[in-house]
């Protein structure tokens, strides 16, 4: 289901290109890409296996210079394809940063929870006994959002203020935005 969604996303992403190729400007662009190239590309994309999809996304960007909005819950794919990342929770942007900063120093507890819950490919010392970190509970219904920060009921760092007032999206340096009352304390990934 996710793949279908991605294909659709990419189709819309390159739609302006297809359109421009059909117009007079096509002649200027055709040196770079042809309609056939694009069609081949899309076919390639549709037929390829999961693990190839993300490298194709990177190709799309490199070959065609297309801006890509990649919507996914797979952080590993984000780490490998995106330059900038926005993390959303319950309809709001909770964190934004360039990809290196985000993965090195996630500030929002939700981002940190997501990163902690990814199973790692085992190395020699990893064993079956390691439990994955969970974020307890589920995303709240958008019709019944809690007061204050929407993540507070699932957050281990939540304090009274979190349940009363939604935190502002603050800049923590270098365009690293995070909306969390306790972002100042969450400096390094545990």
């Amino acid at each position: 289901m996710r793949n279908k969604y991605l294909v659709r996303r990419f189709f819309f992403a390159i739609l302006p290109f297809l359109f421009s190729l059909w117009t007079a400007e096509a002649s200027a662009l055709s040196g770079v890409v042809s309609v056939q190239d694009l069609i081949n590309f899309l076919n390639d994309y549709r037929n390829s296996s999961n693990q190839h999809k993300q490298s194709l996304a990177a190709d799309l960007q490199k070959k065609l210079g297309t801006a890509v909005v990649l919507i996914t819950h797979d952080l590993a794919v984000v780490a490998e394809t995106a330059q900038r990342v926005i993390v959303m929770y319950a309809g709001k942007k909770v964190e934004e940063a360039d990809v290196d900063t985000l993965f090195a120093n996630p500030r929002h507890p939700y981002t940190r929870g997501l990163m902690a819950s990814i199973p790692a490919v085992p190395t020699a010392d990893a064993s079956h006994d390691v439990r994955l970190a969970e974020i307890p509970g589920t995303v709240p219904s958008l019709t019944k959002l809690p007061a204050g920060c929407a993540f507070a009921p699932r957050c281990s760092l939540a304090i009274d203020r979190c349940r009363e007032k939604y935190p502002p999206l603050e800049d923590w340096g270098g365009g690293h935005l995070a909306a969390c009352w306790r972002a100042a304390e969450t400096v390094r990934r545990p």
Binding site: S48, S55, A79, F103, P119, P122, E134
Partner: protein, 333 residues
């Protein structure tokens, strides 16, 4: 683990689907979905089954439960051959094997309440009715981390992770010894995925059943499995203890799969993919070793000779000619 008896034994499992075409729907070809798969699963063990889309993982899963009829080969549960049992003869065995599907949105009847869904296997097998059934369902809800008061709700009132919990509760209802999990977390968010994986591991510790765990996410498989089998175009190309497989992959395909796992770290720079192209069509699988068309170590003999699974160390088998005295694939990596 070696001393524990085998719960499930699959020998030379083959499933071919005819390709029909024309007005008379004559068979014009064959899809070799599963082409000679053998493995065993011990009591209390988790065997991970990985491979690209279309390599036959799900067909194996469904054949094990006889949800699809295998073309040939045998399936033994607790030493008893169930390959040719009739529907009625199979019925008592159905209780010991259950399945959890990938899509918790499609595998629950939207017009039944969650409680009825979980209780249905109990009624079908005539195990409990009325109050007793309600109590058992409530207990199952509790086991999978749902509140018993949610029994009256309908599937659409649950989130994806909760729905998968309902599916797990339904699978648990009959006290199975084997649960086949066909991509149970592929449709879930990472944080919810972690909850479900932890639940599956906890339940196994408590009840001691075996899992046949199918997924395309290697990290997930690695986390939950004791042993891992890698499939390519309907065949198992490598099967080993989890740590051994990840530390010392022998088959070029396994090596390529491991190298292509995305890592959630932007600093880790990706190596060039080890395999290019797509899986060949299972209608016309390549001769010899099916992987030779994409393998960078392919030799002349790989095109004609089909390698069987050979021992490549303790608890480690691999089907590759390079490992048959021609050198070790691992040395090239």
């Amino acid at each position: 683990m070696t001393e524990t008896p085998a719960l499930l034994e699959i020998t030379d499992l083959v499933k071919h689907y005819p390709v029909r075409s024309g007005v008379l729907r004559r068979a014009v070809g064959t899809v070799h979905a599963v082409d000679g798969v053998s493995f065993s699963l011990r009591v209390g063990e988790t065997l991970g089954l990985v491979g690209e889309s279309g390599c036959g993982k799900s067909t194996v899963a469904r054949s094990v439960l006889r949800l699809v009829e295998p073309t040939s080969g045998s399936i033994r549960i607790d030493g008893e051959d169930i390959t040719h049992l009739s529907k009625t003869e199979l019925r008592p065995h159905r209780r010991s094997m259950q399945i959890v599907f990938q899509d918790p949105f499609a595998s629950l009847n939207p017009r039944m309440t969650a409680g009825d869904i979980v209780g249905e296997p109990l009624s079908v097998h005539g195990l409990a009715t009325g109050r007793e059934k309600q109590q058992r369902v409530a207990k199952l809800f509790d086991q999978v981390g749902l509140r018993p008061d949610q029994m009256r709700n309908y599937p659409h009132q649950f989130s994806g992770g909760q729905r998968q919990r309902i599916c797990i509760a339904r699978a648990l209802a009959l006290g199975p010894r084997l649960i086949v999990c066909d991509e149970p977390v592929a449709a879930l968010d990472v944080s919810i995925q972690a909850q479900v994986i932890n639940l599956l591991i906890d339940l196994q510790r408590e009840h001691g059943f075996s899992y046949l765990f199918i997924a395309h996410d290697l990290a997930v498989v690695a986390h939950i499995s004791h042993r891992v089998a890698v499939m390519y175009l309907g065949r198992i190309v490598e099967i080993a203890d989890k740590t051994e497989l990840f530390r010392n992959p022998r088959h070029p395909y396994t090596q390529a799969l491991l190298a292509s796992v995305p890592v959630a770290d932007p600093r880790s720079k990706r190596l060039k993919p080890l395999v290019d192209g797509d899986v060949p069509s299972p209608v016309n699988p390549p001769s010899g070793c099916a992987f030779h068309t994409r393998c960078r170590y392919a030799m002349e003999s790989c095109k004609t000779e089909r390698p069987g699974l050979r021992d490549a160390g303790p608890q480690h088998q691999v089907a590759c000619l390079l490992n048959d005295g021609m050198g070790r694939a691992g040395e090239f990596a």
